[in-house]
Structures are given as structure tokens and as C-alpha cells.
Amino acid sequence: MTLAPIVQVGLPLLLAPMLLSVINRTKAVVAGRNGQPWLQPYLDVLKLLRKGAVYSGTTTWVFRAGPTVGVAALLVSTALVPFGGRPASVAFSGDVIVLAYLLGLARFFTVIAALDTGSSFAGMGASREVTFSTLAEPALFLALAAIARQTSSLSLSAMYGGVGVGTWAVAAPALALVTGALLVVFLAENARIPVDDPTTHLELTMIHEVMVLDHGGPDLAFIVYGSALKLWVLGALLVGLAIPARTGNAWLDGAAALAGMAGLAMATGLIESSMARWRLVRVPQLLVSACVLAALALLLMLR
């Protein structure tokens, strides 16, 4: 068991890109293609790390700092997320907030880096990004608050450690609502359909992609890897709630959680291939409804 902590830290760093390829594979299969190789994301990152870079004349150090700070924040945040029912390597009461704000930090630097290019498209993407995340933030907080209320504990690890089959038994409807809210947040924050389409090639419709158009080389590598990590972090929050496997046996629980992550990735892939990106004006409705779901869950718990 001594290698458990190492696994715990290593797992996300290692497996996060895999989520990307699972999603892509799923979409390919649904589309009838056989899709890219499993290790494609890793190869992309490595290739980019080995390249040089081109910087726009309008940019300043802020542009260069963006990806670095972003990926750094995400790296730290992975250490806060419990996985498979085991407490995270760093756990304290209130780490919920730290996690959320680390994501916020990453987003903020991505946004200002985008604005630094002076491109109107980047500005457009940045504006949309902040709009949607502004609405996603309360949903995330309320959802986590609901879990906290249910397990009456303030640290992620305790909260997720406390969620078990028994919890579902007593508060299934509330937790279901929370899961729904978290799913929406997951999709929105990771720039997934129906909020954003990562594969589009039309700048006008992009949100996340257009912000990173100007990055290249190691910076882009950081960004790709960072987005994978973000996928993992939010996914872990969702899965930890949805798959309440708390047998106490670390390996079993871990396996269950991993299966859950894979399932989540496939679900994402299915969603992406089964529906189109919503019109921008409708996205806020989706996010607000996520907030409503979480609030509803809290009401159910408060009564």
C-alpha cells in the first residue's frame, strides 16, 4: 500500500489525456470511422513540446504566461481531488473553494492571454468564455454545497468519502439532481457540446479553441495537457458522486472509479455525436437550469 499515494498523484497526470482519446474514439466509432490511435493525445503533446514557437508582435509576457499559469493551476488542483473514495493527497476543510478558484485562475489567464493577441476573434471567444463560466460557477458551488450539506463535511475528501450507496438510498432524488448539475458544469467547463464544439473550424463559432489559436509549441502543449487535466478533475468530481463504490478496498474502488471515468468519457462522446452545439443564446439557459437543479437539490435536503 505504500505506493498508493504515488499512484494517487500519478494516476491523473498519466491517464488524463486518455480521456480525450476515449471521447474521440467513441465519436469515431459512432461515426463509423476507426478513429485515431489510443495514444494520439500523448503524441500530440510530445510533438508540440519539441517544436519552436511564433509570437505575435502585439503580445507581451502576459501571453506567454497564460498557458504556464493555466497548466500549473490545474496540476495543483489535481492534488485536491479525491479519487475512488480515497482522500486526496491534500485535503482540508474548504479545499472545495480552493479547487474552484484554481480553475478560475487558469481560466482567467487563458482569457487575458487571448486578449493579449489583440485579435477580435480571440476577444470574442474570451468574452463568451467568461460569460459561460460566470454562470457555471454558482452551479458548481451549489452542487458541491449540496454534497457538503448531505455529508455535513467541508473538505472534498470527507464529502466524497461520505457519499456511499447508503447516501443514495436516503437522498436519491437530491443526489440525482446534483449529478445532473455537475454534468452540465462538466460539459460547459470543458468546452464540450452542447456548449462549445472543440472540433469546429469556423472561428466565429468557437469559444475555447479561438482563444488559443495563437499559441504554438510548448505553450500549446501546456494548453492541450491542461484541458485534459481539467477534464479529469471535473470528471472525478462527477464520477465520485455518481459511482458510490465505497467497499473500503482501494483497488476495487479505484477500478470502479476508473471504469466510471471511462464511462463518462464515452457518454461525452455519445452526447457529442448525437447532438449539435446549441445556439449561443440558449447556452445560458442550460447553465442557469444547472444552477436551478442544484438549488432544488438543496431545497430537498433543507426540508
Binding site: 485562475l105 482567467f108 455535513s152
Partner: protein, 656 residues
């Protein structure tokens, strides 16, 4: 104690000196020098009082009805003194260079006199322990700041702003007059330790205080003077106004809470409501502004709202006897007060540097300033990260503590505490997101991208202006890293504000302390990670092919700087969402015909309270009064008729 009084005296004296001295250079030197000297003196003694929290008081009989020269420094006062003196000193240093631009066309005596008077009166406000003394200091503070706002009174806008400010603050003071008189009736003395709810019920006093102090603090319905006055004032003054003068309102509210005994639940709900309104409303209007200083002013409303949320949830905790929530709420609010003083001061100073260098406050006219003023830009970025409450800077700490309090409230069984706690939680989250949007906008559009216009000749300010900004930026980082220490120092302050015994406060704060330590380690981890990644990046790029090129223009040839995304377009999606509240006004000229003329779009977002409440009311009163003017028609016969009628009426009334 004596040291603070000496400092105050020194401030006033140097102010007078600045007025009598003729040579502008010397007047500048004396004014600024006196301010800095006095503030350092005060800083020293305030810090002393805060560290070894020893209450010193001094009471001297004073020959005015109901008055006594009664001053005291307790932990709460000491904290505010620290802010007041600290920021005043920095602002004075900055100002000494800032005003040099006006040397030839303005007499600098009065500005310095009023600046030092403002610092002195603010200090007096927080140490006064007698109602009359407090009111005097309060009003002197208001007047001094008013004259500072009127600094460049040739402009019509500035005069209008000054008028609004003077009227607002005066009306606020009226409520305070009643408050102190009623509170003083309890034991027939205006000394704070004898004030209380006697003849008047505590809730009436509380409401009076909320309106009176809220006007100064900028609570949402009473905030209208704030976005007018702060842009009008010179930037170093705006920094002082936003940074500390607003806080005197919060100070007053905290004092009031200590005077009125155990609060009923609805006080807490009211405060939470006010905090939510001010927070969301403030940040939304900030988002919609084009004027950088106006935006900062609205964001001050927002931050006051955050502070109020903290105090509100704290009061809820007090009422429900959940000390953990109470303590966290109050400490969060207090720390946010400190933080806001630091980063808002920083932002105003930096913005002032930009405004002075470029000569415009219009965000959409600026751009790319970062390249011309790297120092200013970088410290502004620090301030922005801090004010968005992002780790690892100080802004995060205060919000974290309030969040913790709210979370604790959420998990406390029952719904008395949980419901307001949830409101606070959701509200804070929303405010945080909107603030990020607003400040990403202002930083991105002003400092990043390509220069739009007016910035060509911009250049970095001199060292005297840069030093205070850098000091404040460092402050942001330090507070972020020394948070646990700061919280431990604040224990007596919280005890004073909540009326809980120190031991209990400390006990309830210990979990928060451990979390803070963890947070700090996370922050350090983050910094280390960043450092490592930067190193890695250097290694990777070393020797590789790195070239400069144009921004990827998505197929458009020759994108011009004016094609960049503007501030208003950046904020547009959010302002659209909240259009019902903001009621932004548009004048749009759409291109028409085969060879369209120049098209244009203008948006302006006036304050809804002003346009929908105050202007109509004042207008109605004015019209009503004007309608009565025929009374003085000038016909002497009818004047005599007035007399006859008055006589007749009285005789009938009293004898008939």
C-alpha cells in the same frame, strides 16, 4: 494614544503650513512630507496597539452640550487606523508627484490642506468615543473629501459630482444625528460606552445606522454619489476614498452592532440582502462602464457588498449562537476590508498613472499600454488578480473565509442559518464570476492588445509614483502568504466586534487557521509549479526557432487596431443577460444604402437608482416647491392680508 493624537495634530499642522506657504514646490513638500510623517507616526502606534492589544483611552471634559473629548484605541480602531495611515502615506507620496502637473495652473495649498485634514479626520472618526466628537470628525471628513473631489472644478461634470456627493453625505449624516441622539437618551450621555437602545427600540437604531453609515459605505440604494465622486477626484484621492473612507462606514456599522446588544435574526438577513444587492449590482454596473475609474468605483460598491455579506452571515451566526459561522463571517469581512484597501488603492493609483499619461479615462480609447508602461501594467495585473479573489493573492483569503463561514452555515442542521448561508454562497460565486469578467475586460482592453489611440506618448511615471504602487502590489502577495498570521492578529478585533470572549473566538478560528495554512501551502505549491514550468519552457525553447509574426488574422488582410474587440463588446453577452437591471441605452447608426455613411454605436449605462429613484424624487420636490412661489407675488395689499388672515385664524383657533 498620545502618539496618534500627535500624528493627527501633525497632519493638521502640516496642512495649514501648506496653505500659508507660497512657493508651490515648498507647499508640495510640506503637505506631502507632513502627511507621510504624521502617517508613519500613527502607523507605528496603531501597529503597536494592534499587536499587544491594549486598549488605551483618554477622556477630557469638553465645553459643548453633550460633548466630551473621549478617544480610545481598541483592536477594531487600531485595525482601521493601520489602514488609514498606511494608505494615506502611500497616497501622499504618489500625490506629491501627481499634483506637480498642476503646479503652474493651481494653488496646491488647499488640496494638501484638505488631504491631510481628511487623513486626520478619518483617524479621529475611528478613535472617537463620543457621539458629538464622532459626528464632528465624520462631517469634517466628508467636507475635506468633498473639497478634494472638487479639485479640478472647471469641469461641469466634476462640479455636478461634487454636488451629488455633498448632498448624499449630508443626508446620510442627518440619519446619524438622529441615531446618536436616540441612542444617547438611554443613559443621558453621548459617550459610546453609555449609548444603547433605551427610549428607542434597538431595531430603529439599527435601521438608522444602516442608512446613515450605509450612505458613506456605498450600500446599493445609497451608493449613487460613489460612481460620480470617485472618478471626479484626483486618483490618489480616489484611492484614499475607495480604499479607506468607505470603510469608515463599515466601521460605524460594526461599532453600532457592538452597542446594540444581541441582534435579532432579521438584522443578519437584511445585511445579507444588502450585501447581495450591492455585490451583484455593483459588479454588474462595473461591467457595463466605459470609464476606467468609474468602473473601479462600482467595483468598490461590489467589494463593500462582499464585506457586508461576511458581516451579515456573521450576525446570523451570532443570532443562532453558532460561533463558528459568526467568527468566520466577521473575520472574513474584516480581512476583505484590509485587502480591498490594498488592492483597490493599488488599482486606483495605477489607473491614475495611465489616465495622467494618456489623458483619457475611456477604456475603449486605450489599449496596448502594457508595452509602454510595463511597471504600471504589471502591478495593475497583480491588483486585478487580487480583486478577482484568485489565489495565491490576498483577495482570495477574505473570500475564502466568508465562503468557509457560509459552508459552515450550510452544514449546520436546520434552515435558520443554512438558508442565508446558501444565499451568501451562491451570491459570492456569481459575484466572483462577474468580477473576473469585469476585470479581465478592463485589464485586457486597457493594457493588452494593440494601442488604439491617445496612448502614443504615454510613458511610465516617475519613481515617486511607482514606488507606492509596487509597495501595494507586494502587499497583495504578502497578505496572501501571511494569511494565518493576519488572522491570528485579528482575533481580538473579531472578539471586539462580535462581543464573544477571545478564547472562544480563537477556538472557533483554529480550524480556519489550519485550512489557511493548507491554502498557503497550496499557493506556494502553485508558485513552485509555475517556476518549474517556466524553467521547463525556457529549456525547451532554448536554441529552438522562436520568431515574431502578426496575430493570426483569420483570413482578414490588415486588421487594424480599431477592429479589436472593445470593452463594451466584451461585456455585451453578460450585459444582455442582465439587461433588465442595467437598462443600457443605445444610440446605433446602422450602415445603409450602397455607399453607407460612417455607422456608429454608442452605449451608456447610467445608474438605475439615480435615473429611476433620485432624479424623479428630487425633480418632483423641486417642481412642487416652485409651484408655491406665487406666495411671494409682490402685492403689498395681499401681504397685509396674510397678516390679517393669520391673526383671524389664530384668534378663531385659540379662542373660538
Amino acid at each position: 494614544m498620545t502618539l496618534v493624537l500627535v500624528a493627527t495634530a501633525l497632519l493638521v499642522a502640516s496642512g495649514l503650513g501648506a496653505v500659508v506657504i507660497q512657493s508651490p514646490r515648498w507647499c508640495n513638500a510640506v503637505g506631502a512630507g507632513g502627511a507621510v510623517g504624521g502617517c508613519l507616526l500613527g502607523l507605528f502606534s496603531a501597529a503597536h496597539a494592534l499587536i499587544d492589544s491594549a486598549n488605551e483611552s483618554l477622556r477630557v471634559a469638553w465645553d459643548v452640550p453633550g460633548g466630551a473629548f473621549y478617544v480610545e484605541i481598541d483592536a477594531l480602531s487600531a485595525l482601521f487606523l493601520l489602514l488609514i495611515f498606511g494608505l494615506s502615506a502611500l497616497a501622499a507620496i504618489y500625490g506629491s508627484e501627481y499634483v506637480r502637473h498642476y503646479e503652474h495652473k493651481k494653488w496646491l495649498g488647499p488640496p494638501w490642506f484638505f488631504f491631510n485634514l481628511l487623513a486626520a479626520s478619518m483617524a479621529m472618526v475611528v478613535i472617537a468615543r463620543n457621539g458629538l466628537l464622532f459626528l464632528m470628525a465624520w462631517e469634517v471628513m466628508a467636507l475635506a473629501s468633498f473639497f478634494l473631489v472638487m479639485f479640478d472644478d472647471e469641469s461641469e461634470a466634476v462640479r455636478a459630482a461634487g454636488w451629488t456627493y455633498l448632498v448624499a453625505t449630508h443626508l446620510g449624516t442627518v440619519f446619524l444625528l438622529v441615531f446618536f441622539v436616540l441612542a444617547g437618551q438611554a443613559r443621558g450621555s453621548l459617550d459610546f460606552d453609555r449609548l444603547g437602545a433605551g427610549s428607542a427600540p434597538a431595531s430603529v437604531l439599527f435601521l438608522l445606522a444602516v442608512v446613515g453609515f450605509g450612505t458613506k459605505a456605498g450600500f446599493m440604494p445609497f451608493h449613487v454619489w460613489l460612481p460620480e465622486a470617485h472618478p471626479a477626484a484626483p486618483s490618489y484621492v480616489s484611492a484614499l476614498l475607495s480604499g479607506v473612507m468607505l470603510k469608515t462606514g463599515v466601521y460605524g456599522l460594526l461599532r453600532t452592532l457592538t452597542l446594540l446588544g444581541p441582534p435579532p435574526a432579521w438584522w443578519g438577513w437584511l445585511l445579507c440582502g444588502i450585501g447581495l444587492t450591492s455585490g451583484i449590482g455593483g459588479v454588474l454596473f462595473a461591467l457595463a462602464q466605459h470609464d476606467v475609474k468609474r468602473l473601479l468605483a462600482y467595483s468598490s460598491v461590489e467589494n463593500i457588498g462582499i464585506v457586508t455579506l461576511g458581516i451579515g452571515i456573521g450576525v446570523v451566526g451570532l443570532n443562532a449562537d453558532v460561533p463558528a459561522v459568526a467568527v468566520l463571517g466577521f473575520v472574513g469581512g474584516l480581512i476583505h476590508i484590509v485587502n480591498h484597501a490594498v488592492f483597490k488603492g493599488l488599482l486606483f493609483l495605477a489607473a491614475g498613472a495611465v489616465v495622467q499619461a494618456t489623458g483619457t479615462r475611456e477604456i475603449d480609447r486605450l489599449g496596448g499600454v502594457m508595452k509602454l508602461m510595463p511597471w504600471t501594467g504589471s502591478v495593475f495585473l497583480v491588483g486585478v488578480v487580487a480583486i478577482c479573489g484568485l489565489p495565491p493573492l490576498n483577495g482570495f483569503i477574505g473570500e475564502l473565509l466568508i465562503y468557509l463561514g457560509a459552508l459552515r452555515g450550510v452544514v449546520t442542521p436546520g434552515s435558520v442559518v443554512a438558508v442565508p448561508a446558501l444565499v451568501v454562497l451562491g451570491g459570492l460565486a456569481l459575484i466572483g464570476g462577474l468580477a473576473t469578467a469585469a476585470f479581465a475586460k478592463v485589464f485586457g482592453v486597457v493594457f493588452l492588445g494593440a494601442a488604439r489611440s491617445e496612448v502614443a506618448h504615454a510613458h511610465e511615471p516617475g519613481l515617486t509614483m511607482r514606488a507606492p504602487m509596487i509597495a501595494l502590489a507586494v502587499g497583495c502577495l504578502l497578505i496572501g502568504c501571511l494569511a494565518p498570521t493576519l488572522v491570528r492578529v485579528l482575533v481580538p478585533v473579531v472578539a471586539g466586534a462580535t462581543g464573544l470572549p477571545i478564547g472562544r473566538v480563537a477556538a472557533n478560528l483554529s480550524p480556519a487557521l489550519s485550512s489557511l495554512r493548507a491554502v498557503v501551502s497550496c499557493a506556494l505549491g502553485l508558485l513552485v509549479t509555475v517556476a518549474l514550468l517556466v524553467g521547463l519552457r525556457q529549456r525547451l525553447l532554448a536554441g529552438r526557432h522562436v520568431e515574431r509574426g502578426p496575430t493570426w488574422d483569420c483570413g482578414y488582410a490588415q486588421p487594424s487596431a480599431r477592429m479589436q474587440y472593445t470593452a463594451s463588446s466584451f461585456a455585451q453577452p453578460l450585459t444582455e443577460l442582465f439587461a433588465a437591471l442595467l437598462q443600457t441605452r443605445r444610440q446605433i447608426v446602422t450602415p445603409a444604402g450602397l455607399f453607407p455613411r460612417a455607422a456608429s454605436l454608442q452605449t451608456s449605462t447610467p445608474d438605475i437608482c439615480t435615473t429611476r429613484v433620485y432624479q424623479p424624487v428630487f425633480g418632483a420636490v423641486g417642481r412642487g416647491l416652485f409651484a408655491l412661489r406665487w406666495l411671494q407675488h409682490g402685492r403689498v395689499n395681499l401681504y397685509v392680508l396674510y397678516i390679517a388672515l393669520a391673526l383671524l385664524v389664530l384668534l378663531m383657533w385659540k379662542l373660538g
